[in-house]
Amino acid sequence: MKLRTLLMGAVATSAVATVAVADGHAGERGRDGQLNIIYWQAPSTLNPFLSGGTKENEAASLVLESLARFNENGEMVPWLAESIPTVENGGVAEDLTSITWTLKEGVVWSDGSAFTADDLIFTHEYCTHPESGCASVSYFDGITSVEAEGERGVKITFDAPKPFPYTAFVGAEAPILQKAQFQECLGARAPECTDANFGPIGTGPFVVSEFRPNDVITYVANENYREEGKPAFASITFKGGGDAVAAARSVLETGEFDYAWNLQLAPDVLDRMEAAGKGTVVAAYGTSVERLHLNQTNPDPALGPDMRSVFMNGENAHPFLTDPKVGQALSMAIDRQLIVDVGYGAGGQPTCNVLPAPELYASTANDGCLVQDIEGANALLDEAGWVDSNGNGIRDKDGVELSVLYQTSTNAVRQDTQALIKDWWRQIGVETELRNVDASVFFGGDPGSPDTFQKFYADIEMYTNNFAGVDPEAYMANWLCSDIPTPATQWQGSNIQRFCTPEYDELVEKMSVTANLEERGELAKQMNDMIMQSYSIIPLVHRGNPSAHANSLGGVKMSDWDSELWNIADWYRIKN
């Protein structure tokens, strides 16, 4: 008891000391009242393991935390751990097969119970359960055991040397769940634990007070939060739904909300709204790439649910998109610079790689795609035997017409891009049908809906993806054969275009045992080039991620390497 009071006192003094040096916005917890956040894609769950979606991860990041997070520069910051383990400080074993984290002292769950190594062990078990369909399973790849060591130590052992061991329990995708709350929810029962999935207990600065799926979340400040005087806000309304324009307007023009996320709007539109002077647009360049995925499996609606867009070891191949020549022609016909000019402005740049950053990993082998070449694309298709034999303006071969269904989420910039691309493809004799799906449905991950991006009931789809953190190993492991979404995995999995070659799997394997950074860079480039040259992904734009915050909101440090709300405990209201 005595020791505990002493410790609390010490924590309190140190907190007061640090707060005092900060710029005059210190004070007691909850002093700044209400914060309004708008995410125009509404979260459908607060369990990030059951949804691969950014919106769910970010909404959950107010509550669930991980051992370390990435700041705005992509550097790791110890969060629930005392420090970042490295080989130098002995936290990572010399042979790279294990890492030992030390948990921060005095961390409790929001219900007051102690945060222990058991919770980490349980989270690992939860996500790696074969029937759970965990969306973040690639973060736990290669882990053989997670065990407690001493009072606050957690040792993670890998089956092979792991040169970048900061995947499990790091970042917004793989946070820590409370064992007491989730222990009945293992495996196939995971989606059934509605109460837990909608209101996870966490260690973060806020606690869920009400969760309405696909609508509104209300949070209140966590009374048991480990840092005195934080968070500055007493409650948060996290509104979901609407569209990007309305969200931008509500922050930049009317000031109803304080923070709006993911404002993919045409540059002229955003500039004019910002001129109203109520808010600021902030953008972070991370690894986001707007890309086209070319379905490698057959999405023919006549096939029925067991075969449509289901990967069957190459037996159910797409009638023409598996031919790299077709993909290459589609890519050559695109003028990426024009797409940037029309839809992204300063928030994007043309790219030919699905892995555009950090620089160490960015390949230069595909830069030829930056120049549009419609004649070349036509010649390529002619040469490959795709000619318009029946005079309807569409190329065909063996009775198969080059006609594609091209879907994406509903968003003005994406629809403009679709219209441009459709026009270019028309010029090379490819017929395109456009389709747009409401973003909440498209990215919702609901296995019952036919319109999700994972199900991919279309030939081509366009969206942006990225990876949190700075190491591309987990990201490149997205395209393993074993990560293809199928009915058996509840359509979870990140290999959306269903790309599968043994050579690629070998490279992923190799990268997981390579420690040397230079070599890792080479491997990442090789993998990137392999996917690019299969033309199963056509990258378009390397995107900065624009969000907007009210001018009265202080402390926002946008990070594209983690959840944008990673440091929400430090946000405050600027008083005039």
Binding site: A266, D268, V269, R272, Q415, Q418, A419, L420, D438
Partner: protein
């Protein structure tokens, strides 16, 4: 002589039974209707405008032959030609008389193409709703045994929320329709079908009410007493008498269908994104409303004027078709 004097009063006698002036030429019922209709200025203007719009969208694309889907990036963001009147720095050109959008599509051409889609949806959905509504209303009103079940069925449909129903229908039926009829026709059938089967209820209720009152009248009793079959009573005596409420709900139905289609396009669940309809043009233009107000105004005005003129037309028709009001 006596013959002559005796004849004169006889002539007078017949003359009293004859009209002094030459008889007016006979008038048909439709002529009366037209005369009454002409007195309603709003209806006349509305009818004229509707005719103009219909002709414009049918014949317009033959005269203004620019493809509505053609992108022309170099000529993007042009203002309408009339902007030059007050703003000499505006980018205008006779090549794009109403300007172009942010991808350089010609606005005049998209308006014409969009009008075709919107009007086609409006008319077809209206006719569908009308035939369902009239059939159900007449059956419910005339056959007492059917009244209860049919009206409860109507209540059931009235209580269905249309937009969620539409979203579900789009999810369920998009694929099969698209496979059978192609993306645009398939979507057309789906939208028309769903709007049609969710907007017949008002018509059914109005028609039923009228029929209930009419079938107690003497002329129906007379018809029945000479052994006319129900089918013939309905066709010869009842339907002509309920034509005026049916006309009115038809005009309202056309307006509702155009607006519902606009709402669907606005939500992005209607036609493919590059298929112009008035509603879609309007919703696409909203983010740039301040810089290019005409992109919102033009389709918005067209929707409003069409709906308004249809309503006026309906109002005038109702007055003209009702013999009790006619002549006043």
């Amino acid at each position: 002589m006596t013959d002559q004097t005796a004849q004169a009063p006889e002539v007078e006698l017949y003359g009293a039974l004859k009209d002094k002036e030459p008889p007016k030429e006979p008038r048909s019922q439709w002529r009366d209707v037209w005369d009454q209709f002409r007195k309603h200025k709003g209806a006349l203007i509305g009818g004229g405008f509707l005719l103009f719009i219909t002709l414009a969208i049918l014949i317009g694309p033959l005269i203004w032959t620019v493809d509505a889907k053609q992108l022309d990036i170099r000529n993007k963001d042009m203002r309408p030609i009339y902007t030059a009147l007050w703003d000499s720095t505006a980018r205008v050109s006779w090549v794009k008389p109403l300007g172009s959008d942010n991808l350089g599509r010609d606005i005049l051409a998209t308006l014409l193409a969009g009008g075709r889609a919107s009007m086609a949806v409006g008319w077809t959905a209206m006719l569908l709703a009308l035939s369902i509504g009239t059939a159900i209303g007449v059956c419910a009103g005339y056959f007492r045994r059917l009244d209860g079940p049919l009206m409860r069925f109507t209540d059931l449909f009235l209580s269905l929320p249309i937009l969620p129903l539409l979203l579900v229908a789009v999810t369920l039926f998009r694929q099969p329709l698209r496979a059978n009829f192609g993306p645009e026709t398939g979507m057309f059938i789906l939208i028309v079908g769903v709007i049609g089967i969710t907007s017949w209820m008002q018509t059914a209720r109005i028609v039923r009410g009228e029929i209930l009152a009419l079938k107690e009248r003497e002329f129906i009793l007379a018809a029945r007493s000479i052994g006319t079959t129900p089918a013939k009573i309905i066709r010869r005596h009842l339907l002509p008498n309920v034509i005026s409420p049916i006309m009115v709900s038809a005009t309202l139905g056309l307006a509702t269908a155009i607006i519902t289609e606009s709402a669907l396009s606005f939500l992005g669940v209607g036609f493919p994104s590059d298929f112009p309809t008035w509603g879609k043009l309007l919703s696409d233009a909203v983010p740039r409303m301040e810089d290019f107000p005409e992109r919102v105004m033009l389709p918005g005005i067209l929707i409003s004027l069409t709906v308004l003129s249809v309503n006026y037309l309906g109002d005038g028709l109702r007055d003209a078709l009702d013999p009790r009001i006619r002549g006043r």
